[in-house]
């Protein structure tokens, strides 16, 4: 069964593409079917885990063996990976089905479905790994699929550039991950998770000299691993690829850039909790980066106008939440938020896709509005998604996000307290941008000049069914799984897959903390409605009076521009310099070309000596003879 979960998507990917000419709908039905089976099997495995603690490690075949450097292809099922299996296959299956409708007019649909399945396979390989190398394989594999899918519409210049950007920024992250793995292998002599984690306590105090600084080994390893996680999970400074990645088709954004791939970084940190727990420094870094990302992305999301970019920044911000949850040691809460986030964020993306579909590929929310009656189902489902994301009481986001803030509080450290503040503030921002998006698309007046309102239409049923399932998840996932994931008995569920150095005791949490976020969230709804729909003048004026701030946010803190200035352009210049001045101008000029020129000069000079006149030769001979004689006499 475990084999089937992993390999069915791969088979779907290959056969689905090769068999595209069998019948018209072969690829989409075949791939969707196999991924759906995989999803059902994952749920069974997950359920068996909860009920009977049925966990195992399946070794498939040896991959590489060079001295002690040994890695196997394996399927490792533990509580953590079983949760990830469910998230990945479930969302993937729904996205597959949704794509049948969404991509129905695209001539390259078989290729699209094939990539989606290939992505699912890579992601499963990543989460089911029992060693760092296989994890790395999945890690880059999902990066590849992301690259292929962002650039799926290959005729668009922007899509191609976004695809390359995504791959290269991720490669920078992978650089960190790779160095982390080198360090682990060098000191632990193994890259197997279990062996490394078991040996971790022995290295807790080990210091090492790294480029002149004495650092704690575990801290160093964790920081490098975290660089990898930052790249994949689009954390501050390595986030620039994620908004651009929205160039890809919307189902891709839902699956890869919201529910699964971008959460791989969180998964990595949680998976390596036995290492991170030994390094307070690394945990603090994780918390700080998470906090910065959460606020930064939420602030940028406030002013964006592209519907998908808003949701993308929102994802970025929520990932920040997950990281600071992990950073304060609440790994299980991080995974819980990952779990609930997968449902409502995929729902929001697919819902946005439905809106974009209705407007025939319009993505600017300024050109939307007032279509709630035309798209009743999408409207309701987007409402559910928005409520869940903002953490409206008793929906799934409420349980996970508030839990993050509470656990940050329970940490009882100054950093934990900052995290509480940031968490609450970001929740407020989240609420504002989410409702802004919601109201601007569905309420107010109809603002699209290209398409008359009567031509907008509800999406076909095949796109609505996945939305419906995700909606159910967004409504109930938090409530249903709260006890298992983060309740008092959660330790029985997670077993050894998450490591806690110090037990976080579920102390009494003050009432104000429990109430403040939900209250803010509820208040923000009428507030947003008032300022964005009812009385837009105030914000317009505010925008005009504080234009620098507005532009700063609109241009995403100018980070892309900064990178172009500091990295991209200089690198190109250096490349040209090395080529023109280094290779051609120096090595060749003074090397082969110089020598051959020199030889030419000498030989032409030598040629001139041969005058052909006998007295010249006689003179030279006499000269030589006299020198020789002098030499002999002197000796």
């Amino acid at each position: 069964m475990e084999y089937a979960i992993i390999f069915l998507p791969l088979i779907g990917s290959i056969i689905g593409y090769l068999g595209k000419s069998i019948t018209k709908l072969f690829s989409e039905i075949f791939t969707s079917l196999l991924v759906s089976i995989s999803a059902i099997l994952s749920i069974i495995v997950f359920w068996n885990g909860i009920q009977k603690s049925n966990y195992d490690n399946y070794q498939i075949i040896e991959w590489i063996s060079s001295g002690d450097f040994v890695a196997n292809w394996s399927i490792n099922i533990d509580p953590l990976s079983s949760v990830m299996l469910v998230v990945v296959t479930f969302v993937s299956a729904l996205v597959h089905i949704y794509s049948i409708g969404y991509m129905s007019h695209d001539p390259h649909k078989p290729r699209f479905m094939s990539y989606l399945s290939l992505f699912t396979f890579s992601m499963l390989v990543l989460v089911a790994s029992d060693n760092f190398l296989q994890l790395f394989f999945g890690w880059e594999g999902v990066g590849l699929c992301s690259y292929l899918l962002i650039g799926f519409w290959y005729k668009k210049e922007t899509a191609n550039n976004a695809a390359i950007k995504a791959f290269i920024v991720n490669r920078i992250g992978d650089f960190g991950l790779a160095v982390g793995i080198f360090l682990i292998f060098f000191f632990f002599g193994s890259i197997n998770f279990e062996e490394v984690f078991q040996a971790a306590p022995q290295f807790a105090e080990k210091k090492l000299l790294f480029s002149g600084f004495e650092l704690n080994l575990i801290t160093l390893i964790c920081l490098f691993l975290f660089i990898g996680a930052m790249g994949k999970s689009a954390q501050f400074l390595l986030h620039t690829w994620l908004p651009d990645a929205m160039e890809g088709p919307t189902p891709v954004s839902a699956l890869i850039h919201a529910a699964t791939m971008v959460t791989a970084g969180v998964f990595l940190v949680v998976k390596c909790s036995p290492l991170f727990e030994y390094s307070q420094v690394a945990l603090n870094v994780v918390t700080i980066v998470g906090m910065i990302t959460a606020v930064f992305a939420a602030s940028v999301a406030l002013v964006q106008n592209d519907i998908k970019k808003i949701v993308a920044y929102s994802t970025c911000s929520q990932l920040g939440y997950m990281f600071f949850a992990a950073g304060v040691g609440a790994y299980h809460v991080a995974i819980f938020h990952l779990f609930t986030h997968a449902f409502f964020k995929a729902l929001l993306f697919l819902g946005s896709g439905s809106i974009i579909h209705a407007f025939k590929d319009e993505q600017d929310i300024r050109n939307m509005g007032g279509i709630r009656k035309k798209l009743p189902f999408t409207y309701i489902l987007m409402l559910v998604g928005t409520l869940a994301l903002t953490g409206f009481p008793f929906l799934s986001g409420f349980y996970s996000k508030d839990a993050i803030i509470e656990f940050a509080y329970l940490r009882n450290s100054s950093l934990g307290n900052y995290a509480v503040l940031i968490g609450i503030f970001t929740a407020f921002l989240t609420s504002i941008y989410s409702w802004r998006l919601f109201f601007k698309t569905f309420h107010g007046s109809y603002n699209n000049k290209k398409i008359p309102i009567n031509e907008t239409h509800e999406s076909p049923i095949i796109m609505l069914i996945p939305l419906f399932f995700l909606g159910i998840g967004a409504l109930f996932a938090g409530f249903l799984f709260k006890e298992i994931f983060i309740g008092h008995s959660s330790k029985d569920f997670w077993q050894a897959s998450i490591f806690f150095m110090n037990e976080i005791n579920h102390e009494h949490i003050p009432l104000w903390l429990l109430l403040i976020t939900p209250v803010l969230v509820v208040i923000s709804i009428p507030l947003t409605f008032y300022y964005y729909i009812y009385n837009t003048k105030f914000l317009e004026e505010f925008k005009n009076t504080s234009l620098p701030l507005y532009n700063f946010l609109l241009n995403k803190w100018y980070i892309d521009e900064l990178y172009d200035l500091v990295f991209v352009n200089p690198i190109k210049k250096i490349g040209s310099f090395f080529w023109k001045k280094g290779d051609v101008g120096t090595i060749d000029r003074f090397g082969p070309d110089g020598i051959s020129k020199l030889i030419k000069i000498i030989s032409s000079k030598a040629g001139k000596l041969q005058t052909g006149f006998i007295y010249d030769y006689a003179f030279v001979m006499l000269l030589g003879l006299s020198i020789l004689l002098t030499y002999l006499i002197l000796n």
């Binding site: 060079s66 290959y154 695809a163 650089f175 790294f210 480029s211 280094g582």
Partner: protein, 492 residues
């Protein structure tokens, strides 16, 4: 075994080139092509048999042939071990592919071209089989002549300049190696490698001798800063020439380090390690940056070869298990990938007679199969896990990390740059809108091209997932190499 299997392997291509020389067909050169194809495939099968019957549990040389050649002074001594066998198989595998590629790309003097290729094959196999320094030198340098002719006769517009640059660079390097060989004979009284292994060459000579050998290997490798002949040679060489050059000729130097520099001069190898590290890292970063800015596809791939070879030298001189195994693996992998990439360029060149990247764009609209295969090789070249490109680099870096953090981290930067230039190339060639209207008339790759590229793609992916057949072959030989090296260091 009494049957001289290695000599057969070496001289089979030479013999068949004689047949081609004698054959007479004015039309289409059918018989030349068939003879060469048949003989090269036979050679390949023979080398597979050799690989199959090789005992990988011992590091000793096997199938040894030892004949006196010139007055007992120079012996014609051949033998293979777990390291050299893979290079032999790589050579015999790439040669038939080159011959198939000639069918599409070589338009004139086909017969002579095939003869040159087969003679070259003899020399290349000879290099990897030699157990005598003089024999090695002869094969090593002999290969220059057919390669020089391939570039100089069938090359592009600046072929004469490139051919001479290639010839002078490599010859000048080798002259010093010849001096080194003479000195070794003078010191030890033999040129038999296995005997020299037994004798510790005096410490004071090791450094100079090591440098003499380096001068030859550095040029062949090529290492920075003596790499500038390679882009020019590649650009002007015909497709098959580029393929052999990148896939096999560059590997001779890496093999030379493993076979000569390290076992014969262990102390010097240790002494000069920092030099090699520095040159390798400069090669990796410098040439990756240069590759980024290239406008000519072949130059870009040539520069990327220099960067990949930088990893190889880095890995070899870590003298760790992972480093050396990674380097051997990387050489095999690069042999497959660079061959495939040059074939891919050749496919386009055959159709539009242009190597400029800007000529193309949006190929995927009209050449979908080609584009798919190109993407596979580009991804393999940038070291995507699941292809051979990944494991080699990763093992090398793992090995390097055990010796020097700084070197390993700097070298890892090259991995990011590698992704940048390969993906940018892919984007400019394959994706985007088709701007050049002549692309619309192009036909997708034909059967023979699919066979060549498909086979290479298969092995690139297969060994990426399951490298055990390769790793097991050289495992014991590498162990013994490292053990002997450590022994020599301890015995000082």
């Amino acid at each position: 075994m009494n049957f001289p299997i290695l000599s057969t392997l070496i001289f089979l291509p030479l013999l068949s080139s004689l047949f081609i020389f004698l054959s007479r067909d004015k039309k289409n050169n059918f018989s030349s092509i068939y003879i060469s194809l048949f003989s090269s495939i036979a050679t390949f099968l023979l080398s597979l048999f050799l690989w199959y019957s090789l005992d990988v549990n011992t590091a000793d040389f096997q199938f040894v042939e030892d004949k006196s050649w010139i007055n007992d002074f120079i012996k014609f001594k051949l033998g293979v071990d777990g390291i050299s066998i893979l290079f032999i198989v790589l050579t015999t595998f790439i040669t038939p592919i080159c011959i198939i590629s000639c069918i599409n790309s070589v338009k004139e003097r086909v017969k002579e071209f095939l003869i040159a290729i087969l003679v070259l094959e003899t020399f290349m196999i000879g290099v990897f089989c030699s157990l005598d320094l003089v024999i090695f030198y002869l094969f090593f340098e002999g290969g220059l002549i057919p390669m020089f002719l391939i570039i100089g006769v069938w090359g592009g517009s600046r072929k004469v300049y490139s051919a001479f640059k290639f010839f002078l660079f490599t010859l000048l390097g080798s002259v010093l190696m010849l001096v080194g060989i003479i000195v070794i004979y003078w010191l030890t009284g033999t040129t038999d490698i296995t005997q020299i292994y037994e004798i510790q060459i005096p410490e004071e000579y090791q450094n100079l001798l090591w440098l003499a050998f380096l001068s030859s290997f550095a040029v062949k490798m090529p290492m920075w800063p003596v790499h500038t002949w390679l882009p020019d040679a590649h650009v002007e060489a015909p497709t098959a020439g580029s393929v052999i050059l990148a896939a096999i000729l560059l590997k001779m130097a890496g093999y030379g380090f493993l076979r000569f520099s390290i076992p014969m001069f262990p102390l010097a190898s240790e002494f000069f390690t920092p030099l090699i590290y520095s040159l390798s890292i400069i090669a990796i970063i410098y040439t990756s940056l240069v590759a980024l800015m290239q406008e000519d596809m072949k130059k870009l791939i040539a520069y990327s070869s220099v960067a990949h070879m930088g990893y190889v030298t880095l890995g070899i001189f870590t003298l760790t298990k992972q480093g050396i195994e990674g380097s051997i693996y990387q050489m095999i992998s690069h042999g497959l990938i660079s061959a495939a990439l040059f074939l891919c360029v050749g496919v386009l060149y055959d159709r539009l007679n242009s190597r400029l990247i800007s000529t193309y764009g949006g190929l995927v609209n009209y050449l979908p199969k080609y584009s798919f295969l190109f993407l596979v090789f580009a991804l393999a070249a940038l070291g995507l896990p699941g292809t051979t490109g990944f494991l080699g680099e990763f093992l090398i870096l793992t090995g390097t990390f055990q010796k020097s953090y700084l070197a390993a981290m700097l070298a890892t930067v090259g991995v990011v740059l590698g992704a940048a230039y390969m993906l940018w190339l892919t984007k400019r060639l394959i994706f985007g809108v088709t701007k050049n209207s002549s692309i619309e008339t192009l036909s997708d790759i034909n059967k023979s091209e699919i066979i060549m590229l498909g086979t290479l793609a298969f092995f690139v992916i297969f060994f990426g997932f399951y490298p055990a057949p390769l790793m097991d072959t050289f495992n014991v030989s590498v162990n013994s190499l490292i053990d002997n090296y450590q022994l020599a260091l301890n015995g000082r």
